[in-house]
C-alpha cells in the first residue's frame, strides 16, 4: 500500500508526542498564550498514550517535608554526584505546584484530616490516577489545541540555513498521508525508549515490560540524526520490579513498611543499610538483590504477610490504578492472596525521567539544535523527575517559547528537505528486501542483551564485548535497510526498529567511553569495577557528525566546558 498524498500544516507551537509532558505543555501554552496556535502530533491517541496509559498510583516527586535544595541533595546522592544540579533544582521548585495542577484537572489525590496529601515517603504521595491520561487529554482539547492522533513523527525539518528546526515530518497511520508540520517553535516530548534490550518474558508475554513498549525513542533518534547533543546514554535505567508481570515495587514497599527479603527470609536490604549506616541508593537495591542470587540465597521477595485485610485491599486498589494485570496473579486464590511477591530486575531502558539519558538541554529546556526544546523522559541530565518533573519541564519550555516568541522568524522549509524526509520515511514500502522488523528487533535485542549488559548478564559488560556490540550493531544498521513494510502499521514498526538500532549504537559508544563503574547495574564495567572520580566526575555526551557518533566529555560544573578525552576511540566504521 503506497502512500496516498501529502498534507502540510502550519502552526505556532508544535508539540511532538502528546504524553505526560506533551499534554501539560499544550495545556499551559493554551492557557497562557491563547493568541498562539498550538498543535500536538501523537503516535497513538492522547486519551491513553505513553507511560500514563494504564494510570498511576503515586506522585513520585512531591516535596512533603522537604524543599528543593533537599530534593537536589537526595537526587545527587542517589546519582553519585553526576547530574545537572541546575536542572534538578529548577524542577524541585515546581514539583508541588505541578501536583496542584493535577488536583485541578480532577485527579483524586487523597488527603488526611489535616488536609495534607497522604505521604508514602518524604518525596512521594498517593494518587488515584487511573484517569490521569484522559483528564490531561480532555484539558488539552478544551484549550482548542489541534491534536493529530495516530501520526508518528520520524524526521525533523530545517529551515533554509539548515540550522534551525522548523518542523517535523510524519505520517497518518489511518489515511497513510505524508504530513509535514511547520512551526515557529518545536517541543519534543516523545519519552524514553524500551525494546532495545531483550525482554524478560518470552512469546506472548514479551511486551510485559515496565516502560511503555510503544515509546521507541524516536524523538531521541530524530535528534541524533539531526546532530543534537545527547547526554548520559550509558546510564541506563533498569527497575526492580515484580517478577513476570513487571509491575512497580514502590507500591509494595513505600508507605506500607514492608520490606524485601531473600529466600531465607533475611531482610537483606535492611541488613545492608545497617551495615553501611545509610540508606541504599536506587541502583544498590537492584545490585544487592542480584547479589543474593549470586550467593545462592535468591530469589528475593517483598513480604506482605503482615498486612491486615484493609491494608491488603489498599494494595490491590493501588495496583488496579497502575498495573492492573498483577492482580490476576496476586489473587490467584482470592481466599489466600499471595503474601510473598517475587521481585527481579527489569530489562534496561533509555529514559531521562527515572534515569538521566536524553537530550542535552539548557535551563530553558532548549536542546543544542536551534528552535528545538525537549521536556520529560526525552530530556537528559535530571533523573528522578517522574510525572511532576516532566510537567515542570514542559512548563519551563513553554514559558521560554512564549517569552521569546516575537523574536522567532517565520518558519520556512525548503522543498528539498521535505522530499528527502518523505523518501526516508516511506522507503520501506517500496523495498524488495527480505527481512521483517521482528527479525531485526530480535537481533538488536540479542546483541544488546549479550554484549551490552542485559539483565541476564546481571547488567555487566566490558570493553571487548562492547567493541563486538559496536561491530554487530553497525552491520545490523546497514542490513536493516532491507526491512519491508506492506501497510501503515508495519511501516511504523520498521521506523521504530531503525530508531532503536541507532539508540543502541549511541548507547554502546557511551558505555565504551565511561571507563569506570559509576551506577552499578545501570552502568557496570567489569574491566573498570570502581568509581573513578578523578576522570569521570563528568558528563559523557555524544553527537552524530557525518554519520559517525562522536563522543564528548563535559565538565560537571557550569558552563560545562568540553574536556579532552583520552583513550576513547570513536565509532569506527568497520
Amino acid at each position: 500500500m503506497p502512500f496516498k498524498k501529502d498534507r502540510h500544516i502550519e502552526t505556532d507551537i508544535l508539540i511532538i508526542g502528546g504524553g505526560t509532558a506533551g499534554c501539560m505543555a499544550a495545556i499551559i501554552a493554551g492557557q497562557r498564550a491563547p493568541h498562539l496556535d498550538v498543535t500536538v502530533i501523537e503516535k497513538a491517541n492522547i486519551m491513553r498514550s505513553g507511560c500514563l496509559a494504564m494510570g498511576l498510583n503515586a506522585v513520585n516527586a512531591y516535596l512533603v517535608d522537604s524543599n528543593p535544595e533537599n530534593y537536589l541533595e537526595y537526587v545527587k546522592r542517589d546519582n553519585y554526584d553526576v547530574l545537572r544540579s541546575d536542572l534538578v533544582l529548577s524542577i524541585g521548585k515546581r514539583l508541588n505546584s505541578m501536583t496542584q495542577m493535577l488536583v485541578k484537572l480532577g485527579v483524586p489525590v487523597p488527603k488526611d484530616r489535616e488536609d495534607r496529601f497522604l505521604a508514602r515517603s518524604p518525596r512521594s504521595i498517593l494518587m488515584h490516577g487511573e484517569q490521569i491520561k484522559p483528564l490531561l487529554a480532555e484539558a488539552v482539547i478544551s484549550q482548542g489545541v489541534h491534536v493529530y492522533n495516530r501520526t508518528p513523527a520520524y524526521r525533523l525539518l530545517f529551515d533554509r540555513t539548515g540550522k534551525r528546526v522548523s518542523g517535523v515530518a510524519a505520517f497518518d497511520l489511518r489515511s497513510m498521508e505524508f504530513m509535514t508540520i511547520k512551526a515557529k517553535a518545536v517541543l519534543i516530548t516523545t519519552g524514553g525508549a524500551s525494546g532495545i534490550y531483550r525482554p524478560s518474558n518470552p512469546g506472548l508475554a514479551r511486551t510485559k515490560t515496565w516502560y511503555c513498549p510503544y515509546n521507541a525513542g524516536s524523538g531521541l533518534a530524530m535528534g541524533i540524526r539531526a546532530g543534537a547533543e545527547m547526554t548520559s546514554f550509558e546510564m541506563r535505567f533498569a527497575a526492580l520490579r515484580t517478577k513476570d508481570v513487571i509491575a512497580p515495587t514502590g507500591t509494595l514497599v513505600l508507605g506500607t513498611g514492608m520490606s524485601q527479603c531473600n529466600a531465607r527470609n533475611e531482610k537483606y536490604i535492611k541488613k545492608k543499610e545497617e551495615m553501611l549506616g545509610r540508606p541504599l541508593t536506587t541502583c544498590e537495591r537492584l545490585l544487592f538483590t542480584i547479589d543474593e542470587h549470586k550467593k545462592g540465597t535468591g530469589p528475593c521477595y517483598v513480604d506482605v504477610s503482615s498486612l491486615d485485610k484493609k491494608q491488603y485491599n489498599d494494595l490491590v486498589e493501588s495496583y488496579l490504578n497502575m498495573a492492573p494485570s498483577i492482580i490476576i496473579d496476586l489473587l490467584k486464590d482470592p481466599d489466600h492472596p499471595r503474601t510473598h511477591i517475587e521481585i527481579c530486575g527489569s530489562e534496561p531502558y533509555i529514559n531521562g525521567g527515572h534515569g538521566m539519558a536524553g537530550f542535552w538541554i539548557d535551563k530553558n529546556r532548549r536542546t543544542t539544535l536551534d528552535g528545538l526544546y525537549a521536556a520529560g523522559d526525552v530530556a537528559g541530565g535530571s533523573p528522578k523527575k517522574y510525572i511532576t518533573g516532566c510537567f515542570a519541564e514542559a512548563e519551563m519550555a513553554v514559558e521560554d517559547i512564549i517569552k521569546t516568541f516575537c523574536e522567532i522568524p517565520e518558519p520556512e522549509v525548503p522543498q528539498k528537505s521535505v522530499t528527502l524526509a518523505m523518501g526516508e520515511i516511506f522507503s520501506p514500502l517500496y523495498s524488495d528486501g527480505d527481512i521483517t522488523f521482528t527479525e531485526v528487533e530480535e537481533r538488536l535485542q540479542k546483541i544488546m542483551e549479550e554484549y551490552a549488559g542485559g539483565s541476564t548478564q546481571n547488567y555487566e559488560t566490558s570493553r571487548d564485548k562492547l567493541v563486538l556490540a559496536r561491530k554487530y550493531l553497525l552491520r545490523l544498521f546497514y542490513r536493516a535497510g532491507d526491512m519491508k513494510a506492506a501497510e501503515p502499521y508495519e511501516l511504523m514498526r520498521v521506523q521504530d526498529t531503525m530508531d532503536r538500532i541507532l539508540l543502541g549504537r549511541v548507547l554502546v559508544e557511551h558505555m565504551l567511553a565511561r571507563c569506570e563503574t559509576r551506577w552499578p547495574c545501570y552502568q557496570t564495567r567489569l574491566d573498570f569495577p570502581m568509581r573513578n572520580d578523578l576522570e569521570f566526575l563528568a558528563f559523557i555526551n555524544s553527537k552524530m557528525e557525518q554519520d559517525k557518533i562522536r563522543v564528548l566529555k563535559r565538565n560537571l560544573q557550569p558552563p560545562y566546558t568540553y574536556m579532552p578525552i583520552e583513550g576513547i576511540n570513536n565509532d569506527s566504521t568497520n
Partner: protein, 114 residues
C-alpha cells in the same frame, strides 16, 4: 492470550468509523474484519487495559499469557460515574472479587463514561 475478545459480545462498534478499542490502543493493535475486532499481534500487548475500559460492549478482558501463568482468570473493568469497577473472573466466568474505585474528583468538569 493477553486481551481476550468475546466474539458474541463484540459488535464491531457498528456505525462507528473506528472501533473503540481500535481508536484507543496505544500500540494500534486492533483492526476490524467482518464486523468484529481483531488483534494484529497479541504478543505486542502491554496489558494497559485501555481497550478493556473503552469497549462499550464489555467484550474485552485481560488474561495473563500462558508463558507467565497457568491461571486462566481474567480481569475486566467498566467505567461509570467517576468510578471504575473491576471484576476478576475465573475461567467459567464466575466473579471471584470486585473492586470499585473513585477515579475522578466529584467536582471534575466532565464526569466520565469512556
Amino acid at each position: 492470550m493477553t486481551v481476550r475478545i468475546d466474539y458474541i459480545l463484540c459488535n464491531g462498534c457498528r456505525g462507528r468509523a473506528e472501533g473503540c478499542c481500535e481508536e484507543i490502543c496505544p500500540g494500534y493493535l486492533f483492526y476490524r474484519e467482518n464486523g468484529k475486532a481483531v488483534m494484529r499481534e497479541p504478543s505486542d500487548c502491554w496489558d494497559c487495559f485501555a481497550c478493556v475500559k473503552a469497549c462499550p460492549r464489555a467484550a474485552l478482558s485481560v488474561e495473563l499469557p500462558f508463558q507467565i501463568s497457568e491461571v486462566k482468570h481474567r480481569l475486566i473493568a467498566r467505567i461509570k460515574n467517576n468510578r471504575i469497577n473491576w471484576q476478576l473472573l475465573d475461567s467459567n466466568g464466575l466473579t471471584l472479587v470486585k473492586y470499585s474505585i473513585q477515579n475522578r474528583n466529584e467536582k471534575s468538569k466532565n464526569s466520565n463514561n469512556e
